[in-house]
């Protein structure tokens, strides 16, 4: 198999501009994990079912294992590493801890990103809406119940504390 022409890709990741020359077939998740060395985003399957690889691209959740990095060229990516600002945990991260919304932690980054997007579009979700909102993220440990509680916790906190930034542009990120 001959190597195909590499493409230059420029992406803003967690607020920081990154660029690299990549094979077109490099999956976005591998770009994030191996090239950028942000290993918070995980790979859990090979048929695009599990959602462990969920990140935000241009404000919308996508499965980063089902996209090529070149498709993200010129765009903005938010990963779990970008959720906390200035060392302060996002209310969702706090919620997952307070409500025991994780056990092994492997699905957690994907769950956080899907929940983050859910709360942006729907700041006051019902339990049913949360379950639908995370229906693209599989978890084997928690049975989802405490994840739902965690998202409700975050929604309540964010409603109370309106100074918490919710727009992606305002979220600084650590890398």
């Amino acid at each position: 198999m001959a190597k195909t022409a590499e493409q230059m890709v420029r992406v803003t990741v967690n607020g920081r501009e990154r660029q690299a020359s990549l094979e077109p077939r490099l999956l976005l998740v591998h770009f994030i994990r191996e090239v950028l060395q942000l290993t918070g985003t995980h790979v859990g399957c090979d048929t695009s079912h599990c959602g462990a690889c969920t990140v935000l691209l241009n404000g919308k959740t996508v499965k980063s294992c089902t996209m090529f990095a070149v498709q993200a060229d010129g765009g903005e990516v938010l990963t779990v590493e970008g959720l906390s600002a200035n060392g302060q945990l996002h209310p969702l991260q706090e919620g997952f801890k307070e409500e025991h919304g994780l056990q092994c932690g492997f699905c957690t980054p994907g769950m956080l990103m899907s929940s983050y997007a859910l709360l942006r579009n729907n700041p006051r979700p019902s339990e049913e809406e949360i379950r639908w909102g995370i229906s693209g993220n599989l978890c084997r440990c928690t049975g989802y119940q405490n994840i739902v509680s965690a998202v409700l916790y975050a929604a309540a906190k964010m409603a109370k504390d309106k100074t918490v930034p919710v727009e992606m542009a305002e979220v600084g990120g650590t890398r």
Binding site: M1, L27, S48, M67, G136
Partner: protein
């Protein structure tokens, strides 16, 4: 898990995309949402040498009513349909359909055009478009042409799109007053393809009798199926319990399901009967509202 290598092309316009398609023929594939294509490439079932990414082409993402049609652009995503006030208020059958496709992340990228163009009888929009009597606008080297939806699905993974053609718009004739539709899908779990699903669209006359009915069946044959006998049966009749049941029975007879991991053929046939009955009742309710 890892796709084979390919050359990546990113045209800025439709004519450029069409030219690439023409140039590379069978070695090329269009990449729009990619939510069906990329998984196939990762399994190395699909191995295009050239991937033509049309996602940057502007002017292809719209949902609007114009000249008697609901027009949906070739790059409109499932999530766009879910968020559209127009779809939510006037076309609940399309909302029903978009809502049961895959999951939230996939819906952010997957396009309704791709859902039709892929030619997979398991996809959901084909049945709905059959029920709505839609038209496909294909843009190719010879320009634009319109393909009626009943002529669009030829066989498994095979549509009436000619080499070099891209599905650039879906047109749905705006239903008259007293119309309603519903899409009901039974799946093994959220995110799965349908074990069976039925799209039902009815237009009622002043007396509540069916003036026109459209019924589409998902994943119970090599292509999506238009249940013509059931549609014909309903003409002039009210959608009451008995008629809905009988229509469901006819639709079930028109289904050609195969036994597979989603269930035995007879179960799928039974599902078509039941889901058609329920979808027709819901459609009639919406038509009367």
């Amino acid at each position: 898990m890892i796709p084979p290598a390919f050359e990546y092309l990113r045209p800025k316009t439709i004519p450029e995309a069409v030219a690439f398609l023409k140039q590379y023929g069978d070695d090329a594939k269009i990449l729009s949402g990619g939510q069906s294509l990329i998984p196939m490439m990762k399994l190395r079932i699909a191995r295009p040498s050239y991937l033509i990414d049309i996602n940057r082409i502007s002017g292809l993402s719209y949902i609007k009513e114009e000249a008697g049609f609901l027009k949906i652009g070739g790059l409109s995503r499932e999530a766009d349909l879910e968020a559209s006030a127009l779809i939510r208020s006037k076309y609940p059958i399309i909302l029903d359909t978009a809502h049961v496709i895959a999951d939230p992340q996939v819906r952010n990228l997957a396009t309704i055009a791709g859902n039709l163009a892929h030619g997979d009888p398991a996809n959901d929009h084909p049945a709905t478009m059959l029920a709505l009597g839609a038209q496909i606008v294909a843009t190719g080297p010879a320009g634009e042409r319109i393909i009626p939806i009943e002529e669009f699905f030829l066989s498994v993974f095979s549509t009436a799109l000619k080499p070099g053609e891209i599905l650039t718009e879906i047109r749905i004739p705006i239903p008259p007053a007293h119309s309603g539709g519903a899409y009901l899908k039974l799946e093994r779990k959220v995110g799965d393809f349908a074990t069976a699903a039925v799209a039902a669209q009815v237009t009622l006359d002043g007396n509540g009798a069916v003036q026109k009915a459209g019924i589409g069946l998902t994943n119970v044959g090599p292509t999506p199926i238009k249940a013509r006998k059931a549609e014909e049966f309903l003409r002039g009749k009210k959608v009451d319990e008995a008629n809905a049941r009988q229509a469901g029975q006819l639709a079930a007879e028109e289904a050609q399901p195969s036994s597979d991991l989603r269930g035995p053929a007879e179960y799928k046939r039974g599902l078509v009967k039941e889901l058609a009955r329920r979808a027709l009742s819901r459609a009639a309710e919406r038509a009367e509202a």
